[in-house]
């Protein structure tokens, strides 16, 4: 329901992807047309030239035919490797388009404290009951990659930094949204403080729940990108990323990593938790 906000006591469905479904782990059932006996391999030897020639037509495999499209309904061709290759290529192209559309100084709409939803809406790749609280006393923020001063930060040190408050809309890839009030150190200021290479391409967030997300440097340097420590004027609670999480006004919800344990500045792209599974990497809004 568009207006229903799940309370922590009423979590959304279990083991959610941002899309709200479980990934399939099963091996497809063998076709009933599969021969009972394996094919005689000597046939291959005799027809090696022919087989090689067929392989050269591999380019055709990338083609999506009208026939294939009409079969989509009920019989999903999406998972076929060539189809995934095409769709992921387009998704990567869409990353570039979104980077080009990104307006570095354009501020997202902000809202009044009266519009803030409390508590915020929970969503993760596991149930709210399965959240493993991070011990703030022993927790340290590690810094890695293209950063001059890589000394780790304690929660106390982070919480003592000047704060910025943003009241912004959270948009989930599933389609719901809510207004949230977040405060914490501005990421650009933090990067300047630790001497991060602001010309690097990516910022990676490694999280306590083995989640990894990354954002482009332009988004990291956006004025409404903060390392959030507080929600609605109170320390952010366990389900929502205590002691430290990312909040940026220009990305879908799943890009806003919770329970951050390390920040890495790098020029090397590696797939992240959701992009590996086929969700768009840039995920800008």
């Amino acid at each position: 329901m568009m207006t229903q906000l799940a309370q922590p006591t009423q979590p959304p469905t279990s083991k959610q992807l941002p899309g709200g479904e479980k990934m399939p782990l099963r091996i497809p059932t063998p076709s009933i047309f599969r021969p009972k006996q394996p094919v005689d391999q000597s046939v291959l030897k005799e027809n090696r030239a022919l087989v090689a020639e067929i392989d050269r037509r591999g380019a055709l495999r990338g083609t999506i035919s009208l026939g294939a499209l009409t079969l989509l309904t009920g019989c999903d061709v999406t998972e076929e490797a060539p189809v995934q290759k095409v769709l992921r290529t387009v998704s990567a192209w869409n990353d570039r388009v979104q980077a080009a559309l990104f307006r570095p100084d354009h501020l997202a709409p902000t809202f009044s404290p009266a519009q803030v939803v409390k508590p915020p809406r929970f969503n993760a790749h596991f149930d709210v009951e399965e959240v493993k609280p991070v011990d703030g006393a022993s927790w340290k923020l590690e810094l890695a990659g293209r950063i001059d001063d890589k000394r780790p930060w304690t929660a106390q040190e982070i919480y003592a930094l000047p704060e910025q408050e943003i009241i912004i809309r959270h948009v989930c890839v599933e389609g719901w949204d809510y207004i949230g009030q977040w405060s914490g150190p501005n990421l650009t200021s933090f990067f300047q403080r630790v001497g991060a290479d602001l010309t690097a391409k990516y910022v990676y967030f490694h999280c306590a729940d083995d989640y990894t997300e990354s954002i482009d440097m332009a988004t990291a340097l956006h004025p409404q990108t903060i390392l959030a420590t507080r929600y609605a004027n109170a320390t952010v609670t366990d389900p929502f990323g205590y002691p430290l999480r990312l909040r940026t006004s220009t990305k879908l919800g799943y890009k806003n990593a919770k329970w951050i344990r390390a920040i890495e500045v790098t020029n090397t792209f590696t797939e992240t938790f959701w992009s590996k599974q086929g969700f768009n990497w840039f995920a800008g809004i």
Partner: protein
């Protein structure tokens, strides 16, 4: 509409002959059919993740993409086909004069007469080259809906980068609702469109072969039966 006299400074030659559905129109029509198929099927998948109406879930058998991310992948792939093809169609429609010839003028009296005929099952289908008033309204309307679904889609995709556009709709869920209602209108149109194409098969054939040859008596002239020279498919 009476034909206007040929003006000497018209950039089109008088009595220009062409198919009822010129080749570019046919190509764009079928590309659009594929794009709409992808966009609706994948859109239903995306909708199911967070339904707007509690009573409405689209059955798995009707959606494109088994998992949410696949639905999203198809949608953001199909959007390029739909938008680029749509822009080509609009450009062609204006530049060739097809919109002006086929869709205008629309008179209220003609609409009422057509609706009356339709209700008495007296609608004439023997002249494919002439759109009746209801057809004109529907085709014009669906073009406008097509534009609105793209605009609302842009606002949904980029509510921050295009915040000026998004704010014209109201809040985020309003944009979703507009996008959804546009889809509903397109589905409604398609039900009628496909049903009529099957009831009047020569209209379907015409969208494949091009249909009869028509002549413009003049720029601005509406295609009418009087301008039809040949009906090779009969």
């Amino acid at each position: 509409m009476p034909s206007t006299p040929v003006k000497s400074n018209d950039r089109h030659a008088p009595r220009r002959a062409r198919h009822l559905h010129p080749l570019p129109v046919r190509i764009m029509h079928w590309i659009n059919a594929i794009a709409i198929f992808i966009m609706i099927g994948s859109g239903w998948k995306i909708y199911n993740d967070d339904v707007i109406f509690g009573w409405l879930h689209f059955p798995d058998a009707l959606v494109i993409g088994k998992w949410a991310q696949y639905g999203l992948q198809w949608h953001f792939f199909g959007m390029w086909i739909f938008v680029l093809n749509g822009l080509a169609y609009l450009t062609y429609g204006f530049a060739s004069g097809r919109f002006r010839r086929k869709l205008f003028p629309i008179s209220l009296r003609e609409i009422l007469a057509t609706v009356g005929d339709a209700l008495r099952f007296r609608l004439a289908h023997d002249d494919l080259t002439h759109y009746n008033a209801v057809q004109k309204i529907l085709y014009l309307g669906i073009i406008l809906i097509g534009i609105l679904i793209v605009i609302s889609g842009l606002a949904l995709w980029k509510p921050v980068q295009f915040s000026e556009l998004a704010s014209m709709f109201g809040n985020f869920q309003t944009i979703r609702l507009v996008h959804f209602l546009c889809m509903s209108a397109i589905v409604g149109f398609l039900l009628v469109h496909v049903a009529l194409a099957l009831l009047v098969p020569q209209s379907l054939v015409a969208m494949l072969t091009g249909g009869p040859i028509v002549h413009d008596d003049a720029v601005g002239a509406t295609d009418t039966a009087a301008n039809v020279q040949a009906t090779p498919w009969r």
